[in-house]
């Protein structure tokens, strides 16, 4: 699988696409999947991140999501931010169509 996170990233979250419709989802602390990055469980350090990723496995087995992976996030007062441009766009929607995607549907989306 492609690497979407930086080596040595301090904070990471787990994302995937929902199998039935492909929508981007985030793994939450209670092992559910949310469409909002703001609901994501954030792991600190490598070991915690790997443990978090392991919690995604049952949803893959149960055919709920596909291709879960870790990505770097930043914790801010205003909430969780994706560190890369790619993940920022995934949690929001196309920057060229602000009327589409999560940016048009959810609160807490950042640009």
């Amino acid at each position: 699988m492609a690497q979407h996170t930086r080596k040595g990233a301090q904070f990471q979250a787990v994302t995937a696409n929902r199998l039935a419709d492909g929508i981007v989802v985030y793994l939450t602390a209670d092992a559910q999947w949310s469409e909002s990055l703001q609901d994501a469980a954030v792991a600190e350090g490598k070991e915690a991140a790997e443990a978090l990723l392991a919690k995604a496995a049952p949803a893959v087995e149960d055919n709920l999501v596909v291709e879960p992976y870790l990505f770097e996030v930043v914790r801010e007062d205003s909430g969780i931010r994706a560190a890369s441009v790619r993940e920022t766009i995934r949690q929001a929607g196309p920057t060229v169509r602000l009327d589409l995607g999560k940016q048009a549907e959810l609160s807490g989306v950042h640009s």
Binding site: L19, G22, D62, N63, R90, V96
Partner: protein, 552 residues
């Protein structure tokens, strides 16, 4: 245009039914993602950044109004009310759900369309010239041979698991609008001294991370031997193309590594064997049968000059600008080729709403024999419009924001979906095209600059054809930040060239100024009548480089 026979319809229907079963088994868990992925890709279904993407084949870029109306309908019902026309003359939907895909494909099949050969390591949907059947200097309508290749290549068992994808393009005129020299196989229709029509064949062209210009392997393949020749090329590739390294698996690498002469020797040997067997000898009556589908429509006898047109040009300066840039000469007196720009100022290149699709379908039905074309430069073409109807067509297009007068001008840019949609992209490409479009919005300035093709790609895979843009822009990722590398001097026509990198990459904030500097450099040094590409070929990269990096 071509109409499905019972076999075509049956295989498409059966394919939909088969995929319906595969989707159901994936959703129920009978199939794992690893098992399902190659199956969905064989049906044009990708998983992109935000959702699934469906790529629909538009064979050689030709569509009927009925088919376009269906695409509009599918966009509304299963997507977000729009689609994206690509550099492969295909249409992509960006948001369909996997669970809806079988129903979507079943509706699509009712208008003789599908998503087969739009993904995977097979011979992909054949592309061709949008002016087919209308161009003045056309030797033969390229859709005839394109359709024959489609029938030969679809589900060809020997070529279903090639080392990598394989793209074929056909041009029927010496002016190449199909970029044939940057395809795995490029076919140029030619005529010999005795008037026989045959095919010049280029092999091993391509863009991506290793751009190459195709090598001419033969000057003339007779009509009846074309499939045997293509099969010979495919066999050599299938046998010797690399499967150990996906970055070296395209035929261009094979041709480069063994050399064009050795490639030709091997192809000729296979060709001789295939001819001996005779099974791929193309009966001329079969060619005639296909040809009949592409017979010219019932053109009227018209004077070449249209007083209605001349009057409207004088009365309406905006229309005059549109005529100047968007209209091309037609082979029949009194007719014109209309190019519909899908590049409104500040818009997304290639995007078209369902409402716009319906509008174009109506206009094509009323004014252009009920059919239209998709171009590899992400525009649409009405191939046969009476000159006296041009103003009415323009007015109808204008109502739907489809009358932008910029074909072949600086704002008529190619852009791949880039990081706004694509899972492979490293950087965004659409916003760069939009900012450039806005900077050069002034129509007088665009005409002053003249023909200039800017191509934008969001990664090295080069779906935005940046290597062959007169100015190419490649988005790269440097430690999570988008940068843009500029190439100059590329071309995708009969004088195909790969652009040269001008220097260090620019940030998102710098790139539009850099493009403007390049354009101003050209304006400062061009001679009378010189297009950007002509000036570049005369002076080379240095003057551009000097001006661009002078302050650095």
């Amino acid at each position: 245009m071509y109409r499905y026979d019972e076999f075509d319809q049956q295989i498409v229907n059966e394919r939909v039914a088969q995929f319906r079963g595969q989707v159901a088994r994936r959703l129920s868990g009978e199939l794992t993602e690893d098992e399902f992925k190659p199956l969905r890709l064989m049906n044009g279904v990708y998983l992109q950044l935000h959702a699934y993407m469906l790529r629909i084949a538009i064979p050689y870029g030709t569509l009927s109004s009925r088919q376009l109306r269906m695409l509009a309908h599918l966009g509304r019902k299963y997507d977000r009310g729009y689609g994206h026309f690509t550099t492969r003359q295909n249409l992509q939907f960006n948001w369909p759900a996997l669970k809806d895909m079988p129903d979507l494909l079943a509706e699509l099949a009712t208008v003789e369309m599908h998503a087969i050969q739009t993904s995977g390591n097979c011979i992909r949907n054949v592309t061709s010239d949008q002016y087919a059947g209308a161009a003045k200097n056309e030797i033969e309508d390229p859709r005839i041979v394109s359709e024959i290749i489609r029938q030969w290549s679809t589900f060809h068992p020997e070529f279903s698991f090639l080392p990598r994808k394989f793209k074929i393009a056909v041009s029927g005129t010496p002016d190449d609008r199909a970029a044939i020299r940057v395809h795995d196989i490029g076919i140029q229709i030619v005529q010999d001294a005795k008037g026989n029509i045959g095919y010049e064949v280029y092999v091993g062209g391509g863009l991506g991370r290793t751009p190459m210009i195709g090598k001419k392997l033969t000057d003339f393949v007779p009509k009846e031997d074309l499939l045997a020749y293509l099969e010979a090329v495919m066999r050599v590739y299938n046998m010797y193309g690399r499967r150990d390294n996906m970055y070296k698996s395209r035929i261009k690498i094979l041709v480069h590594e063994i050399g064009a002469e050795e490639m030709k020797r091997q192809v000729d040997a296979e060709f001789a064997e295939l001819k001996k067997a005779g099974t791929l000898h193309l009966p001329l009556e079969e060619v005639a049968r296909i040809e009949a589908y592409f017979r010219p429509p019932a053109f009227e006898d018209l004077p070449n000059e249209s007083t209605e047109l001349n009057k409207a040009v004088l009365a309406d300066p905006d229309f005059a600008n549109w005529v100047k840039s968007n209209i091309a000469e037609h082979k029949v007196p009194g007719y014109a080729i209309v190019n519909i720009s899908l590049k409104p100022i500040g818009g997304v290149p290639g995007d078209c709403t369902s409402d716009q699709m319906d509008a174009v379908a109506d206009i094509a039905e009323k004014y252009s024999f009920d059919e239209l074309r998709v171009t590899h430069e992400q525009n649409l073409t009405l191939a046969h419009v009476r000159k006296k109807d041009l103003h009415a067509v323009y007015e109808a297009l204008k109502k739907h924001d489809l009358a932008t007068a910029n074909i072949n001008l600086i704002t008529d840019q190619i852009a791949c979906p880039g990081l706004d949609y694509c899972a492979l992209a490293n950087a965004r490409s659409i916003p760069i095209a939009q900012r450039i479009s806005e900077r050069f919005a002034d129509i007088a300035r665009q005409h002053e600059i003249g023909e200039l093709k800017i191509n934008n790609s969001g990664c090295i895979n080069a779906c935005g054809h940046h290597h062959v843009g007169h100015i190419g822009i490649l988005g790269v990722d440097k430690k999570g930040v988008e940068y843009y590398q500029v190439t100059l001097g590329g071309a995708a026509d009969e004088k195909t060239a790969i652009g040269e990198i001008v220097g260090p990459a620019f940030t998102e904030g710098e790139i539009v100024d850099a493009i403007e500097k390049i354009v101003n450099t050209y304006l400062g040094i061009r001679t009378e009548g010189e297009r950007f590409i002509d000036t570049y070929r005369r002076v080379g990269i240095e003057p551009f480089k000097e001006n661009l990096y002078a302050a650095h």
